[in-house]
């Protein structure tokens, strides 16, 4: 930071420039147009030999003198004062580029002042023609000063070819110069009518007053056309990115655009209204009303112009916080503080962290954000960040997708320091994540009996997903409904074991405290609105409940309890993501019990949205949603994607994300042109979680943090791998999905892609695209030929389709499903890291073989005669 920054709090964010500039332009443009008004009216008075009109012109010129010379002129100087105080770097750039333009403008100020004083003081004494000439010279000077300042102001918004050639004339005659000049000239002329109303209202003679009102109304009406044409031309001439920001992207601009939308016709209408014969008392009040509307109109325009330029003060040259665009890469490398002059802190220590954060906020944020003040108050904007991680993630993604913001500039340590400052200073919190560390538990576990000598059947069961996530915010929206699917295979033991699918009935039953999920979550109250189906309480989306009879899935040679709506909230309270399910196999005919086993039916609501979206955990301080979090997500979506989801949800129509975003997991087709759900959510959020190591990014949202209550990655793989070994880092993961969408022709993917860099592979081009859910990492990538894993990098090689997924495959014989012996993905045997008990995921290995290894240790679990060749898969006799 080259210059010191004036430490403004309440009146920060550009308050002073907004105030001084808006009042100045109103009077200054009047100062331009008013010259023409005076001269033409004077001419008319001479032509018509109208002394009363002439007297009015003289009076009006006194008003004009007092208003424009003092207030207009001094506030103009005031702008100059203010910009040097609020943005010296940009002021210096502009002054050094345009010094001679400004110097020329000064000359015209001088001739303007001399002309106006002479005009006023010699009124009635100077020969008419000469006096009119003085008036015309005034108008010419005033318009020239507008001409010259216009070039500089428009340069800031659209520097045009200057960015390449650095030439004064290219910068001055930039792409929006002529349109803006037309607009402003029109507006200057309109304003003389407006201010004319004021002086006319105080004319005592009624007939003259009425005439003057009509004249002023004409002065508003006719140039209004020029103004509107100029305005339209201005819009057309705007650089594409500016236009996009103003009209499509920036939510804040909507307010100002709406103001313009009503203020413009009101401005016109009320001015025309003044032309009617109104009682003088009303005229005296209404004339100020017109000035007021004009101020609102003009202010809205200037706010749009200034706001449309974000995040730059000089477009694509200097950011609003005074950093040169070309300096940013250097700053990202070396850090912001080491490259700033006006800071005492060159490096971050434990002692100076508060001061560092304060400095970073002052230098990077305060240019636009006031503190508790009227302009872009930072406090409501950061209110939801009660932990540093969330705020830091926001800064991580700054300016990438919300292009009206600049990027955060600095090292990660600086970013963290700034996040820490914001959270501490504005939200009075020092929480790093706001997540409690959860202790391990060892819940009582019943292992069903197995008599190896006499039992004829082995019943194996597993859940199709290692963990079923549930988005517990159904009052407002849903992306993952309850529905844990459990598969089972019944094996008749023998010399040649058989998968039994006929003449048997498999019944399943959730443990008692999980049988009334409808009392714990609101899902069933909203299921019809969300899914269009009437669901009985406690019944899942496949029509199956918390207990019942499993269905035969002939294709897979297995039985399934599909989409059991188990929810991790036991009846007695608390949070349990690993509830247990008992499955009993019966002979259909005789009703005899053939086998019984138990299995974890995982479900979790530990979704970390609250870390960034505000609110807190909804259940037991470790999981679930509060309304605040749920609503903020919709609010963010509304803001970023111009939707009205929050309004809809609050109106009693909660949103199913997949109603627009295609998702194979829910069988949703989505809507044309919208990215599929996984690509959207990962693609968006990847921008906020870059450069994270291991599972850090994943743990922000998915219930996998090591000290969390779920910690779903609980197999032995977790000892030497994390999510990124198979799934890639957050950026890689998002890229696989976005590139696939891009391949399918979806244009939107490019926007989310542009700032993502691949990490596990050198270039983005090397990333293998994949469809969500059906194309996943393949175990055989590391376990070549079903052997011991020879690598720990399974990224970038995906199953071709759903059939090739681990959870859908069978052994070489097409008989036993892989997961029957090896258990669910993320919890493959041995899986001893379950937070609720080391043995919880190993019920069947313990039941059938007294260990926690894959089923078949040893083969005599099912084979009464020890097999000698590897029928299931190569290497199956290894152990």
């Amino acid at each position: 930071m080259n210059y010191p920054v004036w430490d403004l709090t309440t009146f920060g964010g550009g308050f002073f420039i907004a105030l001084i500039a808006v009042v100045h332009v109103l009077v200054a443009h009047f100062a331009v147009g008013g010259g023409l008004f005076l001269v033409t009216l004077e001419q008319k008075a001479y032509r018509d030999e109208d002394p009363a009109l002439l007297e009015y012109v003289k009076k009006h010129s006194k008003f004009f003198l007092l208003l424009t010379m003092v207030f207009g002129g001094m506030t103009g100087v005031g702008i100059w004062w203010t910009i040097a105080l609020l943005n010296p770097a940009a002021t210096s750039s502009l002054i050094h580029i345009f010094v001679f333009g400004w110097a020329a403008e000064w000359v015209f100020f001088l001739t303007e002042i001399v002309a106006l004083f002479i005009y006023y003081y010699t009124f009635g004494r100077m020969e008419r023609k000469k006096h009119l000439l003085i008036g015309w010279l005034y108008f010419f000077s005033a318009w020239m000063s507008l001409f010259l300042i216009n070039g500089i102001i428009d340069f800031m918004l659209s520097p045009g070819a200057w960015l390449e050639n650095r030439e004064f004339w290219s910068g001055f005659f930039n792409p929006t110069f002529w349109p803006a000049l037309t607009f402003r000239t029109g507006l200057s002329l309109v304003l003389c009518g407006v201010f004319g109303f004021v002086t006319a209202a105080f004319v005592k003679e009624q007939q003259l007053r009425t005439r003057l009102m009509r004249i002023c109304a004409k002065w508003v009406a006719i140039p209004f056309v020029l103004m509107l044409l100029g305005g339209w031309w201005y819009i057309v001439a705007l650089p594409g990115s500016v236009s996009h920001l103003i009209f499509e992207h920036s939510p804040e601009m909507t307010t100002y655009l709406r103001t313009l939308a009503w203020a413009t016709p009101v401005f016109f209408a009320i001015s025309m209204f003044m032309a009617l014969r109104l009682p003088n008392r009303l005229q005296k009040v209404l004339c100020f009303g017109v000035v007021g509307i004009a101020l609102i109109y003009f202010g809205a325009f200037e706010f749009v112009r200034e706001g449309g330029r974000r995040p730059y003060i000089i477009y694509e040259y200097m950011y609003s916080n005074q950093v040169f665009v070309e300096d940013v890469p250097g700053i990202q490398q070396a850090g912001f503080l080491p490259t700033a002059k006006w800071t005492l802190h060159r490096e971050i220590t434990a002692e100076n962290m508060d001061a560092v954060g304060k400095d970073l906020f002052k230098f990077q944020c305060s240019a636009c954000h006031s503190r508790g003040g009227p302009l872009n108050d930072i406090q409501p904007l950061v209110k939801k960040y009660s932990n540093i991680f969330g705020m830091d993630a926001k800064l991580n993604g700054l300016g990438k997708l919300n292009t009206y913001m600049p990027p955060f500039m600095g090292t990660r340590a600086e970013r963290w320091a700034l996040a820490r400052y914001i959270v501490k200073e504005f939200n009075h919190s020092s929480a790093e994540t706001g997540n409690l560390a959860v202790e391990d538990q060892d819940l009582a576990l019943e292992i069903p009996p197995f008599a190896k000598d006499t039992d004829e059947y082995v019943l194996l069961a597993w859940s199709t997903l290692g963990m079923k996530g549930i988005s517990d915010s159904s009052e407002r929206w849903m992306m993952l409904p309850p529905g844990t699917s459990i598969y089972a295979q019944l094996i008749k033991r023998g010399d040649s074991p058989q998968i039994v699918t006929r003449a048997v009935e498999l019944r399943y039953e959730m443990d008692a405290e999980f049988r009334t999920p409808q009392e714990k979550v609101a899902f069933w109250e909203h299921a019809e609105q969300l899914f269009g189906t009437q669901l009985e309480p406690g019944v899942g989306l496949a029509g199956m409940g918390l207990s019942g009879t499993m269905r035969l899935d002939a294709e897979h040679n297995a039985f399934v309890a599909a989409k059991v709506p188990v929810v991790p909230y036991p009846a007695g309270g608390g949070f349990n993501p690993y509830p247990l399910l008992t499955i009993t196999a019966f002979d259909k005919e005789s009703g005899a019990e053939l086998a019984r086993t138990r299995v974890v039916a995982p479900a979790t609501t530990e979704m970390g949205c609250k870390t960034c979206h505000g609110g807190d955990w909804g259940v037991a301080d470790v999981a679930g949603f509060t309304l605040a979090t749920g609503e903020d997500i919709l609010a963010a979506h509304d803001k970023n994607s111009a939707t009205k989801l929050l309004e809809q949800a609050r109106g009693g129509h909660p949103i199913l994300c997949q109603s627009c975003h295609a998702d194979p997991a829910l069988g949703a087709a989505g809507k044309e042109g919208i990215l599929n759900f996984s690509a959207s959510i990962h693609g968006w959020h990847a921008n906020f979680l870059t450069e994270r190591n291991g599972a850090e990014a994943c743990a922000a949202c998915h219930g996998i943090r090591a000290d969390g209550p779920t910690q779903c990655f609980r197999s032995h793989h977790a000892q030497f791998m994390d999510c990124s070994n198979c799934h890639g880092t957050m950026e890689d993961h998002a890229l696989t999905l976005l590139l696939h969408e891009q391949q399918q022709g979806n244009q939107r993917a490019a926007v989310l892609l542009q700032h993502l860099r691949s990490r596990k592979v050198k270039e983005v081009a090397q990333i293998e695209p994949r469809a969500p859910w059906s194309q996943q990492p393949d175990c055989l990538t590391c376990h070549t030929d079903f052997g011991v894993g020879m690598s720990v990098d399974a990224f970038n090689q995906w199953t071709k389709n759903e059939e090739e997924l681990y959870r859908n495959r069978h052994d070489q014989m097409g008989a036993v499903m892989c997961a029957a012996c090896h258990s669910s993905q993320h919890a493959v045997y041995p899986a001893t890291f379950n937070r609720l008990g080391a043995q919880r995921d190993s019920i069947q290995p313990l039941q059938y073989q007294g260990n926690n290894r894959p089923i078949g240790n040893d083969c005599t679990v099912c084979h009464t005669v020890q097999p000698e060749f590897e029928a299931h898969h190569p290497n199956s006799l290894r152990i």
């Binding site: 002129g73 100087v77 100059w80 050094h96 100020f109 001088l110 001399v114 004494r125 003085i134 004064f168």
Partner: protein
């Protein structure tokens, strides 16, 4: 601790050789000074005379009151140009010092508006105000003195980067350079000097009968020259105080250290003596010539002081030049045209006055 020089921002490149800006700066600053002296000094004189009884005293104030509003307008306008050029050459210094005293600096705008409107009230309602007019004039004068004081603060602070680390104690823009021993003598020297020059203007107005009121032109000359002589004498003393308050190495520039500086001081003192003598003898035009020459000397001395303070940190020749001369030519053409236009309009105005009379 941060070394002082480390705080100085990096300046931007300039479009033509620095000499152009230097000449323009000095020239336009002189013009500003000439009008500013009339505005401030004249206001003080008008106030003093308002407080004294007597018809001619009152008429002198009234005469000034007619001229005050446009004098302020021109003084401010004439200030724009040197402020522009100083930002080109020394922007990295003046922006920094301005920000250190930002709250004070920004208040100037409001105070100036108030002082200006008050001057209009004084001018347009001189007679009807009666005894109240001293208060009105006083209000404007006090505000202008306040503004002048802030200018002196900024102009000295911009030269002293060694004081800038005060920013780290308080970045709220509340700093004033009161620890600088040159601040008060500099400020007073300028203010009293303004009174002197304004007195000379009044005498000139009398001498050329450029009066609007019924004041006796001889009164204007007599009083004007008296103000001039007394204020100049006091200014000399203040000038010596200013000189001695300077850091030793800079003071010595004027007392043997630099031929240029010493010549300026000697010439200045000589001219002062001449001006006092001529002023005492009421030789209005000759005094004016001597005073103009004196003002030029003082502007150059002030510039040498600036260069001296900044020598350890910066010199204008360091500025990078990225040449583009066509805008300069454009400006010079406009400047010449503008001056011609002003001349023409003034001619029309003066002719019209003569017609009326």
């Amino acid at each position: 601790m941060i070394p002082n020089a480390a705080l100085i921002p990096t300046p931007d490149a300039i479009p033509v050789a620095w000499g152009w800006f230097y000449v323009l700066l000095v020239l336009t600053f002189l013009l500003h000074l000439l009008v500013m002296n009339a505005m401030l000094g004249g206001g003080i004189i008008a106030l003093l005379n308002s407080l004294r009884r007597g018809e001619q005293n009152t008429l002198l104030s009234k005469e000034f009151s007619y001229k005050w509003p446009y004098t302020i307008a021109i003084a401010v306008n004439m200030g724009v140009a040197p402020l522009l050029f100083i930002q080109v050459l020394y922007g990295h210094f003046i922006y920094s010092s301005s920000i250190l005293m930002a709250s004070w600096w920004l208040s100037i705008i409001l105070m100036l508006i108030l002082a200006y409107y008050s001057a209009y009230i004084y001018a347009f309602k001189f007679d009807s105000l009666g005894a109240l007019r001293s208060w009105v004039a006083g209000f404007s004068v006090v505000l202008l003195l306040y503004i002048a004081f802030l200018f002196s603060n900024n102009m000295t602070l911009m030269l002293q980067p060694e004081r800038w680390s005060a920013y780290f104690a308080d970045g709220g823009g509340r700093f004033l350079n009161t620890a600088d021993p040159t601040l008060i003598p500099r400020y007073l020297h300028f203010v009293i000097g303004a009174v002197a020059v304004a007195g000379l203007y009044l005498a000139l107005i009398g001498r050329f009968n450029f009066v609007k009121s019924t004041v006796n032109p001889q009164t204007l000359i007599a009083q004007g020259m008296r103000y001039f002589t007394i204020a100049t004498a006091i200014s000399v003393a203040l000038g010596f105080w200013f000189l001695l308050a300077l850091p030793k190495n800079i003071m010595l520039l004027f007392m043997g250290g630099s031929i240029y500086g010493t010549a300026l001081l000697l010439l200045g003192l000589m001219l002062t003596g001449v001006a006092l003598y001529l002023g005492h003898n009421r030789q209005v035009i000759k005094t004016s010539i001597a005073t103009l020459a004196l003002l030029i000397i003082m502007v150059l001395m002030r510039d040498l002081v600036r260069t001296g303070f900044l020598a350890p940190y910066f010199s204008m020749s360091e500025l990078q030049v990225i040449p583009e001369y066509s805008p300069l030519i454009f400006f010079l053409v406009v400047f010449a045209g503008g001056l011609a236009l002003v001349g023409y309009m003034l001619k029309l105005a003066l002719e019209c006055r003569k017609e009326v009379e």
